[in-house]
């Protein structure tokens, strides 16, 4: 049994932790919150130079060639630091879509720019509130042109390119790469529940688009979302852990009734429950990482399980961190709300728990008793 990250990746994670402790205290996210600016360009450039953005990109395309386990480890630290950078959009979605479905030429052109953080990519999918149903999307692709409106595209206001999920009359669901600075693209930044991660509504009106030809329909789009959800689960676990760490240290320092509030069982049990939720989520994320690395057939189940547990842990830990801080937890000056905002944003950005649970059961119900037992 070797259910753990390799030592070199663990070392990399420690380095990332140290780097972010020095460069990305919550004040960095707060700067975006207070003054706008969409994301921290200096930090983004630095983590690009460190090879983080290109961690999953092979060296031949200008990446660091470290693989997906490295992305998972980095994501955890980025989540803990609530870093205001377009890492998720670019790495889990944009780069991943190109790696999975891009042609050799597309990879050669686009991946080096993304891996070096000189360009930002995103995925434009949702068109209305509600569960993601790929086959009901209204955006149309036809003959190298795309039209339609995408709602709340993460980093959509600053992204250089978007992978757009659309329908093609002949092929069904397609992924089309669009240069967002070109004609026929109108974008409008929209306020979000976490302003440290900017979003935009994008309208495509016959914008030039190139197909990612490897994508063969809705199932492939789902596969992309599944893989992204696993990487994001690590970011969520990182954020949840940071919230627990902050609640714990506050509970040790803050005195009430002549004693640290952490000596009261009401607080202890709350923090213990946060710990339990985070460890369950971490373990499930590990399983996702294993599926991601090996391309196991289990991946859809692993992704759903990782996603649901990460949503639970992120929500519980960040809301109870606010609660543990009392009135201070609800001030603008206190940092608790930064974690709370981020957790919920990440928790809905690839679809909420409700749709993932139904999807998980869709996978499980087709298994027979022996298959279910064998998975234990």
């Amino acid at each position: 049994m070797n259910f753990d990250f390799p030592d070199d990746i663990k070392e990399m994670r420690e380095e990332a932790k140290r780097f972010l402790a020095a460069k990305c205290q919550p004040a960095v996210a707060r700067k975006i919150l207070d003054h706008g600016g969409s994301f921290d360009r200096a930090l983004w450039a630095e983590i690009g130079a460190l090879g983080w953005v290109g961690a999953s990109v092979p060296e031949e395309y200008g990446g660091a060639g470290l693989g997906h386990l490295a992305v998972c480890a980095l994501a955890e630290e980025i989540g803990a630091a609530i870093a205001p950078v377009p890492f998720a959009s670019t790495v889990y979605l944009g780069i991943e879509a190109l790696l999975m479905f891009g042609s050799e030429a597309q990879k050669k052109v686009h991946l080096p720019r993304l891996a070096s953080a000189t360009a930002v990519a995103t995925l434009a999918m949702a068109e209305t509130p509600g569960p993601m149903v790929v086959d009901r999307l209204k955006s149309r692709y036809s003959d190298g042109r795309i039209s339609g409106t995408k709602l709340g595209v993460p980093d959509g206001d600053v992204a250089d390119m978007a992978v757009v999920v659309a329908q093609d009359a002949r092929r069904g669901a397609v992924l089309a790469l669009v240069d967002l600075s070109g004609p026929g693209v109108k974008r409008e930044a929209v306020p979000t529940i976490d302003p440290t991660r900017s979003h935009a509504t994008i309208t495509f009106d016959g914008a030039k688009a190139e197909l990612l030809d490897g994508c063969r329909g809705a199932a492939d789009v789902r596969r992309l979302i599944d893989r992204a959800a696993i990487m994001m689960a690590f970011e969520q676990v990182g954020g949840a852990q940071a919230a627990l760490d902050r609640a714990t240290s506050y509970a040790k320092e803050r005195y009430a009734f002549g004693r640290p509030i952490g000596s009261f069982q009401a607080i202890k049990h709350k923090l213990a429950d946060m710990y339990v939720a985070i460890e369950l989520a971490r373990s499930n994320a590990y399983y996702g990482a294993w599926a991601l690395e090996t391309g196991a057939a289990e991946l859809p189940v692993a992704a759903a399980v990782a996603r649901i547990a990460a949503n639970d842990a992120g929500w519980l830990a960040t809301k109870e961190n606010v609660q543990t801080h009392g009135g201070m937890g609800f001030t603008w000056e206190g940092d608790s709300h930064l974690y709370y905002r981020r957790a919920k944003l990440l928790g809905v950005s690839l679809g909420g728990s409700s749709e993932w649970k139904r999807r998980l059961m869709g996978e499980l119900k087709s298994r027979n008793t022996t298959q279910l037992a064998a998975a234990d």
Partner: protein, 412 residues
């Protein structure tokens, strides 16, 4: 990352399977284990003893114990593999869990050479079953509040009082007892640890009928039970330290928890129908079962993380502390939900109910698992204090003589 056994682990697992196939009955696929099911049947204890003897002879008893204790000098991962495999068979090894998992390690750590020679091997061979006489009517989670007195009388001790929740006292040959030898000392300092003969005069065992109706545990009364001083384990007044050794071993013995899990809910929801078809297609049911499945998988992979540490020769990490806390409450909730799904007929508790009535059975034993071996509340305190490093609660019972510790109106 790799889930598979190493070559040595796979070899060991194959040996274990071969032994179990030859000596025990394998459970059918999908057949769920109940809690201590079958233990009350005539001849069950003798059969358990005979099986333990075979385990001993095949080298699967005391797997992790050092050779000088008569163990195999094996690794924790071997023990985990053995436990995983045995969980697929109908055995009653749990009757030895307390003795072999907790009490013999205590005797090996604190006992005299004579005590070790006399008891350890015979326990390992399954000849003598042991029970643990710790909890009392006045001391459960607060074990050190115990009141059973051991009074010195020359070379002997005279014990009076009673112990409660003693699993297996009725079929145990011996037991380990913590008693108060000095009421004027602070509560943790006036305790002494002994072994006792469960058949000695002055020991009266009364079964306690559990809420589930079965009688696995007992209240044990001591009326002038006389102990020789040679039955003392550890120094006079060191009983708390010795008891801690017993309790520290408890976390290593927690095995697989029997009962229905998320997979059984899936099976159930496939069989049961509402007006639209199988419940498995109902969105509300799907969401609920998915939640249980995610928790089950989280626990499973948390165990894998612990196994990985063990596999590398390490000790369980802090993540191992969540196992019983999550398992016990999940079992109770799954049980309740399974019964909800069965609706009006769920009150029927017969084996011809779906999944052989395991939901009906687990309803009544699952509450015990949230209490035995550390309550949910105690486990949360342990996580908060030992893992998260939160300060201990304010104590009014430390550093004062035991006789001055406040108590409720009833004194045990």
């Amino acid at each position: 990352m790799d889930f598979s056994d190493t070559t040595e682990e796979a070899t060991y697992r194959a040996k274990v399977r071969a032994f179990l196939d030859a000596n025990a009955e394998r459970r059918k696929p999908g057949e769920v284990a109940g809690y201590r099911r079958g233990q009350d049947k005539p001849g069950a204890i003798d059969a358990a003893k005979a099986f333990q003897r075979k385990k001993y002879e095949a080298g699967f008893a005391g797997i992790t114990w050092p050779k000088e204790w008569g163990g195999q000098g094996g690794t924790p991962i071997q023990q985990v593999i053995y436990n995983q495999e045995e969980a697929n068979y109908k055995t009653l090894s749990q009757v030895f869990t307390i003795g072999l998992g907790m009490l013999m390690p205590t005797i090996c750590t604190w006992g005299t050479e004579e005590q070790k020679d006399r008891f350890v091997q015979s326990a390992l061979r399954g000849e003598e079953i042991w029970c643990q006489l710790f909890s009392e009517p006045a001391g459960g989670s607060d074990l050190a509040a115990l009141r059973t007195r051991a009074e010195r009388d020359g070379d002997q001790w005279v014990v009076n009082g009673s112990k409660i929740w003693t699993s297996g006292a009725h079929y145990s040959r011996y037991g380990c007892l913590v008693a108060r030898s000095d009421s004027s000392a602070p509560k943790h300092k006036g305790l002494t640890y002994f072994w006792i003969d469960m058949k000695a005069p002055g020991v009266d065992i009364q079964p306690i009928r559990q809420a589930s109706g079965s009688k696995h545990f007992n209240q044990v009364f001591f009326n002038d039970l006389r102990l020789d001083d040679s039955q003392r384990i550890g120094a006079v007044g060191d009983g708390w330290k010795v008891a801690i050794t017993t309790l520290m071993n408890e976390r290593y013995v927690a095995g697989e928890t029997p009962g229905p899990d998320a997979n059984e809910l899936i099976e159930l929801a496939r069989v049961l129908q509402n007006e639209n078809g199988p419940l498995i297609d109902d969105p509300g049911v799907q969401e609920k079962i998915a939640e249980f499945y995610v928790r089950t998988q989280g626990l499973r992979f948390t165990k894998f993380r612990t196994m990985t540490r063990l596999s590398r020769g390490g000790t369980p990490g802090p993540e191992a502390s969540i196992g019983k806390l999550v398992t016990a409450s999940k079992l109770q909730e799954i049980t309740s939900y399974g019964l909800d799904l069965m609706g009006q007929a769920a009150g029927v508790a017969t084996p011809d109910m779906p999944l052989a009535g395991i939901f009906e059975e687990a309803l009544m034993y699952s509450p015990a698992l949230r209490i035995a071996g550390g309550t949910d509340e105690v486990l949360r305190n342990i996580i908060a204090e030992r893992v998260l490093g939160l300060p201990g609660d304010v104590r009014v019972d430390k550093d004062v003589p035991f006789t001055e510790v406040p108590t409720g109106p009833k004194r045990g």
